[in-house]
């Protein structure tokens, strides 16, 4: 019977290649996470220097996406991975796309932060940014954690949280509308807040995507577009 040793491939280099691309992805995940928290911080603390750094650093994420995809392509060509190896490579390719998009959303927020900082006085709506921002940053961090630990329960939790974030986003948008109606002079600044909220909501969607990829990786079942109930069933093997 196989022992723990059999979790390694006969080809040590194949193991190394998979490990390398995985660690590249996790490194990318770490940078993306920081970009998101920095972008939120830049918004809340009206820190245009920090925001500018976020905009510049987004290029690093783009480069990493290309590098990870290239390595995955080489593994597919060289090793013809099957079963969980195949699912791992597919999951990495998809996750890198989501991470790159999250990076783009962080850059959008940073740009709004720069605009707002130039305009001076802070508009209302920061409470919503802070609240949804915390939730979304937490979701992103959990989605990466569940990948590292291959924890499907946590993945399910991320997907459930996304639903809550979507509701909070809808209510925040209604709030912003009332601000604009009350004070039309604030419209352009409130719009900046709305764009930022929109970016956060999108980041939540991407974090959910990553969580779904993880469930596919671990369970072998595709849980995209199936709804939370079915997802829970897959996770609990019902």
């Amino acid at each position: 019977m196989p022992t723990k040793k059999s979790s390694q491939h006969i080809s040590q280099r194949y193991d190394d290649e998979l490990a390398a691309v995985k660690s590249q992805l996790f490194e990318m995940g770490g940078i993306v996470e920081k970009q998101v928290t920095d972008a939120i911080k830049a918004l809340l603390e009206v820190d245009s220097e920090l925001a500018k750094r976020v905009v510049i650093d987004d290029n690093r994420i783009n480069d990493m996406e290309v590098a990870v995809d290239e390595d995955c392509g080489l593994i597919l060509a060289r090793r013809q991975p099957a079963a969980r190896d195949l699912r791992l490579v597919l999951t990495i390719i998809k996750t890198t796309t989501d991470l790159e998009r999250i990076g783009d959303e962080a850059r959008k927020m940073a740009k709004q932060a720069i605009t707002l900082a130039e305009e001076g006085k802070a508009p209302r709506g920061y409470v919503e940014i802070r609240h949804i921002g915390e939730n979304v940053a937490n979701m992103l961090s959990q989605s990466l954690d569940c990948f590292v630990r291959q924890d499907v329960e946590l993945a399910l939790k991320v997907a459930q949280e996304d639903k809550a974030v979507d509701l909070e986003y809808a209510s925040a948008i209604r709030e912003m509308m009332t601000y604009m109606m009350e004070d039309p002079r604030s419209i352009s600044r409130v719009m900046s807040i709305m764009w930022s909220l929109r970016a956060l909501e999108r980041i939540g969607d991407h974090a959910r995507n990553i969580a779904e990829h993880v469930i596919y990786l671990v369970k072998g079942d595709d849980v995209r577009h199936v709804g939370l109930k079915q997802m829970a069933k897959t996770v609990h093997d019902e």
Binding site: P2, S6, A83, R84, Q150, E153, V218
Partner: protein, 297 residues
């Protein structure tokens, strides 16, 4: 159906197949304590062509196949994979009693072609082998002309009443084997003068000339280059419209490409059987996964 997990953090899953509670979850989480002596997956098929039950094969003291149950459906391509010495070729050879020729080889259990017991002592193996043809690892054309290679079988089985009929069988067989265009102008030349890939297609033409119902292929491409291999694989796909095909292969990619179902053998046991698409993306047994992902073998 049973479940799998891919991580040590998740809790152990109970398993239908396991006779005892699963105690050990190894580093990637598929339960390795599941007994490989019990087959995972559905053995039965609709539209059964061949049905094998509790097949045991021994060479003298050494048992090579242990209690294999497997059905093969009409017009399906079933691939048998597994490391060397896993019993897959031995099992394949039981299906047209090719093991009869091996001294000391004892086969027990029930093997049926339609409802015919293959191991019925009263059964004549010659017509059986016409119904269940075989293609071997190394192309082995007779030292005769291309025409005679294909015509020989129909002649001895009395399938042609005239030269015209025989010509027709030869042409059809060569066409089905994808060799007609290359061979039609040199039918009188020796079959051994063809290239390796052409010879293998000639052997396939020879096999299908007697209108078998099942074709057994024992690593039919392992002596061929990638282009000849691709042609044989293409051919297997076409042949499955008319024949039932069981193929033993060392190439997992080949199994993934050509077969509808895949059977994984390990140490003489059938460990897992399932749709090829599932076996190669989401196998249920740890041993299957380790083998197809290149973790041991």
């Amino acid at each position: 159906m049973t479940t799998m997990t891919v991580d040590s953090n998740t809790s152990p899953q109970s398993s239908q197949e396991a006779t005892q509670p699963v105690a050990d979850i190894s580093s990637n989480g598929l339960d390795s304590s599941r007994d490989y002596r019990q087959t995972v997956g559905k053995i039965e098929v609709a539209n059964t062509k061949m049905s094998m039950r509790d097949v045991n094969v021994s060479y003298g003291d050494k048992q090579a196949v242990f209690g294999v149950d497997l059905d093969i459906a009409k017009n399906e391509v079933i691939a048998m994979i597994g490391p060397s010495g896993c019993g897959k070729s031995t099992f394949l050879r039981c299906m047209n009693r090719m093991n009869d020729t091996i001294e000391g080889c004892v086969v027990s259990g029930s093997l049926k072609l339609d409802d015919q017991d293959i191991y019925d002592p009263k059964l004549d193996v010659v017509p059986l082998r016409a119904r269940v043809g075989m293609v071997f690892q190394k192309p082995n054309p007779f030292p005769k002309s291309i025409y005679d290679n294909v015509a020989y079988g129909p002649q001895i089985h009395g399938l042609a009443n005239s030269k015209v009929e025989l010509d027709e069988i030869v042409e059809n067989s060569l066409r089905k084997a994808g060799l007609w265009n290359e061979a039609k102008d040199r039918l009188d030349q020796p079959g051994t003068g063809l290239s390796g890939g052409q010879q293998q297609r000639l052997c396939i033409a020879r096999t299908i000339a007697v209108s078998p119902e099942v074709i057994l292929m024992d690593e039919p491409c392992s002596a061929l280059d990638p282009i000849a291999t691709a042609r044989i694989e293409e051919l297997i796909d076409e042949l499955s419209a008319n024949f039932t095909i069981a193929i033993v292969t060392h190439s997992m990619q080949q199994a993934a490409r050509v077969s509808h179902r895949t059977a994984y053998f390990h140490l003489g046991y059938l460990v897992e059987i399932g749709d090829t698409d599932d076996i190669f993306t989401n196998p249920k047994h740890r041993l299957t996964e380790d083998y197809i992902t290149g973790r041991f073998g």
